[in-house]
Amino acid sequence: MTERGPFLFLVALLATVGAVTAVFRNQEYGLPFLPGAQTTVWQVDAKIEFRATGGPTQVILTLPPDQQGYRVVNEIPVGAGYGFSFEESGGQRRAHWSKRNASGDQTLYYKLELVADDSAKGPDSGTWSRTLNRWDEPYQTAAQELIDSVVPLSADGLTLAQQLIQVMSTVPVNSNVSLLLDRFALPTLFANLLASADIPARSVQVLLLEDGRRRQSLIERVQVWQDGEWHLFDPGSGPVADTSDLLLWQTENPVVLEVIGGTQSRVTYSIISQTRSAFSLTRAAEPGEAPALSLYSLPIEEQSTFKLIMLLPVGALVVVFMRIMVGVETSGTFMPVLIALAFLQTELVPGVLSFLLVVAIGLLIRSYLSRLNLLLVARIATLVTVVIGIISVFSILSYRFGFAGGLTITFFPMIILAWTIERMSILWEEEGPREVLVQGSGSLIVATLAFLLMDLPTVRHLAFNFPELHLCLLALILLLGRYTGYRLSELRRFATMGRV
């Protein structure tokens, strides 16, 4: 039993150290206390599908270059069983998967997170290769005539390109144009014509960023270099003025996807947009700036794990508060925190619903198991298996009926669910359904409160970016641990004693 003095000193010390460190870091490193403005993050998934022929397999995907307007904040290649490396070829980054032996249908993903950023810049110099120097006859003559007809009408590369597009899209179609279009696709022709006229131009492929689009393909466009930057043209209609929703994917390499050792390969793109704290993205992108001994120095994946881990003490505080100050009974002391953690992934309402559903079905099955006369360990193991079964069926059904929320149920920790069912079931047998209701709803209430607190952007921000504030949290928990006053529930319990 520690004396009051040293105990309070310890609490004050912890709280002060935590608070002072936080303020210091705020002042010194400019870490804001509030999450600040929210930014839209584009998540692009490139999905590569092919049929492997059953031997060494290599997949090379061209990756978006540095460019104006967008900044890559995170990229994750996914390919189970594949070796992976980034490589540079012809001025563009490429993702390279390889596997000694692959057969059957293969699926690889390249996940990319981008934010719109006006300060982002592309390469300073324009590089382009002349795709074609000489044309075969009769195309050489046709092309030359076409160029000669527009050069007098233009002042520079841009206007020449504009004139060319105009000529090519005029109806009735110019005979030279129709001859050339028989031989070349429009974007290629356009780029080649510009090249023949000594205008720096290249054909590129872009991705249209639009929220919620699936199975998209790249679109072919042409860029013309002038005044130190690239200008984008749609060969069918003219210059593209607004490039803000276009992501430049392929510029240098003519091929976006190369598959060696596979057939029927294709790449499709799905795009979603999310809202996130702008601050968290700056940090993720510039880990070098942060102090060495900090969570930012961890790889992005570990960081996101820690974002959850650092929230646990907040949930624990809620449990402590609800137990000591309010007196809510829960089934399993810290089970509510784990449930709350699962809610963070599933969102509240689907989370609560699926939790109730699984526990209810589990209780039904458990009541049958109790008739089988099993030993405890075997019974729990059975229950774990059954819970996984329930979750699988639930996920498949909800997916079939297009209810995506059902899939998130897998975020619940199975063992915890199984134990919850077991405890509830014993409680039911021994203390009756009333106690099950009391403890079950107690757990859910505490879990919900913990979730609501842990879900606040400010709380998330502080917990991750100011880990030292956990010392203050610790001080608070210590203080609560020495609270000898009545619990709220005891004021009810001793109601008759309150009377004289």
Partner: protein
Amino acid sequence: MMWANPFRLRRRGVLGMNRRNIDYIGRYNDRRYYPLVDNKLETKLVVRNAGVTVPELLGVVRTQHEIEFIDVVLEPFRQFVIKPAQGSGGRGILVITGREDDGFRKSNGDVWSLRRVKRHLSNILSGLHSLGGRTDVAIIEDLVISDDTFGDLSHEGVPDIRLIVFRGYPVMGMLRLATKASDGKANLHQGAVGVGLDISTGRNVSAVQFDRPITHHPDTGARLDQIAVPHWRELLTLASLCYDVTHLGYLGADLVLDRRRGPLLLELNARPGLTIQIANHEGLVPRLSRIELLEEHSRDPGVRVEFAMQHFVHHPYRGQQSLWESDTPAQGSTG
């Protein structure tokens, strides 16, 4: 009134859960002594050596294998109780009051086959009824036959007496009566009736069920205001003796009165509940503080019991004042 005023509760000296845990259990109960009271078999063996009377031990089942031969073990007995050594809150206790052709008659009249009893034993061993689901052993002991005084006070089950023993002094007592709601168990959580007992006399103070005052037993209709527990001083002494055996400063002792053998200790509890205050309509804190103020503690349970019987007298309206106003014996004691 639905809610109590916390300041009034405090004035009345009502002990809350947090304060109990920190100021009494945390301060006076050394954790290393817990295993002794958390295991009924060990409690039984240890207190028996110290001269505390307990229900006779008929057998112990330690392994699943032994369950196969349980019918041989049970052969000589018609009435017995099977309980988990580490069960809590009266869980897993099977009371057999007689034998039928096809099995064992339970206290509530149901008949259980041998197979069912074996299954129950198996559940006990695998820890179904035990704290934290630990593997356990099953104790078979003699059935306690309730003392005639208690007559129809209890619905099935034997009434038991809970005494809070603080540093060896019995400070508060309560008679617990099983009801239909509590399924024959003397567990207040499950709806057993608690009747507060005056430490100085062993007479009833007031009665509660589900934390609310009552005057009659909900099932038997028996009056709850005419109770005087016999062998009172003996009961207090027995409980007081447990302190010397267990070294636990804040202890709950559960005792019963057997028709043939008198006061017996059933089990001990290192975290006794707080409802006893409602049953006594009095807070524990003043009595506990009174003991803490003592400069000398007697090693003799008899002396401690005498002190308690002199000082912890229930006065409906004077309440706790008597503790502080004088040290003179307030009321005589009955044996």
